[in-house]
Symmetry: none
């Protein structure tokens, strides 16, 4: 990122107008929009006409314009988890550069973890990829998500194994796993000390929704060797702060 790409001013104006129409969920005449956005009427008209033609706006009769079908379908495609990921992305980016580590965000689907964000230096070195689904029992994010599962769901998860060892530290005994998850829930974070890969140390924390559900978690990964106690404490603090920041921004959305 050196100097910056020249931006497209017409597009900026278009977006301003779009927002003006949507603002307070209300309806607006084109001329009113033009006035608000400080744009000549004629121009505003072409912009709106284009947006209408593309289905992003719709005329609701009598000089009024509202959000169009295309915009709505966009809304439906962005499900809750995606929203979290989107909100979290820039924040995690920042965190990654602060801690000079790999930062990830994952969600829980079909008893597996879906990695939705991976950022930070060396992000390509790790075997996980965005969009990848991985077993939950052996990663920090996975353990956090499991720990916050509804009781009956967790029970059936634990009963259904098997828990294949990926390293000799992987927890494969359902009972020990249950204890571990209980601890994770109590202390509010999870540690994966070489359970998924020999030299990988990782701390994970939950993202709490406003209603208490935990459907996403974030983590910071490091080499086992590069992690001492002081560093871990610092990293954990940052992780929590980041989680809170994400929670607040998700809730204010």
């Amino acid at each position: 990122m050196s100097k910056g790409i020249p931006l497209i001013s017409s597009l900026q104006r278009t977006l301003t107008m779009l927002e003006a129409v949507i603002a307070d969920g209300g309806e607006r005449s084109v001329s009113a929009i033009a006035r608000e956005a400080g744009i000549p009427v004629a121009t505003a008209h072409r912009q709106v006409a284009t947006l209408v033609a593309e289905g992003y706006l719709a005329s609701s009769g009598s000089y009024q314009h509202i959000a169009g079908p295309r915009l709505l379908s966009l809304l439906h495609r962005l499900d809750e988890k995606q929203v979290i990921a989107n909100v979290a992305a820039p924040i995690l980016h920042k965190l990654a550069s602060q801690v000079r580590s790999i930062v990830q965000l994952g969600t829980f689907e079909n008893d597996m973890v879906t990695y939705r964000i991976k950022t930070g230096q060396g992000a390509s070195d790790m075997f996980t990829k965005v969009g990848m689904q991985l077993e939950a029992y052996c990663s920090g994010i996975g353990k956090v998500l499991l720990a916050h599962l509804p009781d009956d769901h967790l029970r059936s998860y634990l009963a259904n194994g098997p828990f294949v060892p990926l390293t000799d530290r992987t927890i494969t005994d359902p009972h020990r796993l249950a204890e571990e998850l209980k601890a994770v829930k109590d202390q509010g974070f999870a540690v994966d000390d070489g359970e998924i890969a020999e030299d990988l140390y990782c701390i994970a924390a939950p993202i709490h929704m406003a209603d208490g559900r935990v459907i996403a978690a974030i983590s910071i990964s490091r080499n086992v060797a590069a992690m001492d106690e002081a560093r871990e404490k610092r990293v954990r603090k940052l992780l929590f702060e980041t989680a809170h920041e994400i929670e607040q921004r998700v809730q204010s959305a």
Copy 2:
């Protein structure tokens, strides 16, 4: 619509790109987007840069782009119910002038009815106001919305009372209310004959979503005195036609 306004081609391309990024909730590199949308890379880059600068897109690390905060807040403001209200507004306006009555639209939140539209002559005389939340069991709109609630939700609603009488016609017995709601669901509309206010007669009909849910209802209100059988029949017909019109326009969204 005479000949048509000249559309802005660059904007059309931008929107195509926007959709390409959002498509399948996935992340895409700019060059990939450019390829998909058939746009030169350089141009695509400026477009994306602009969208990122405006917060409509965000980079999620390592050549990936996803929906940005601005887009999310935009979409969030467009919740489903608001959209229905927006679509319905002009249609209800028309209806109100046809029947010379008060026409309202309400949605269901927290076991209460939120009035989102009120239009027609004498609209300011009635005690309901836009944005107001009112008990559901005693109004036409409320009964329609209750009638279409999922079974378990309705059960808990009925169990949780109390149902305070506002007039001597208000239904306060959970069993009678349950029967009434069943009838409402069967016949496809609800009548409030002085249950919320002595002299107020009101007919309400549901707005069906494409997937069968009913999260909004509309109503026509009159003085009890001004309502005879012939008039009611005519009003009911108009109400249904209006509901259908709204449904179609919402679903085309």
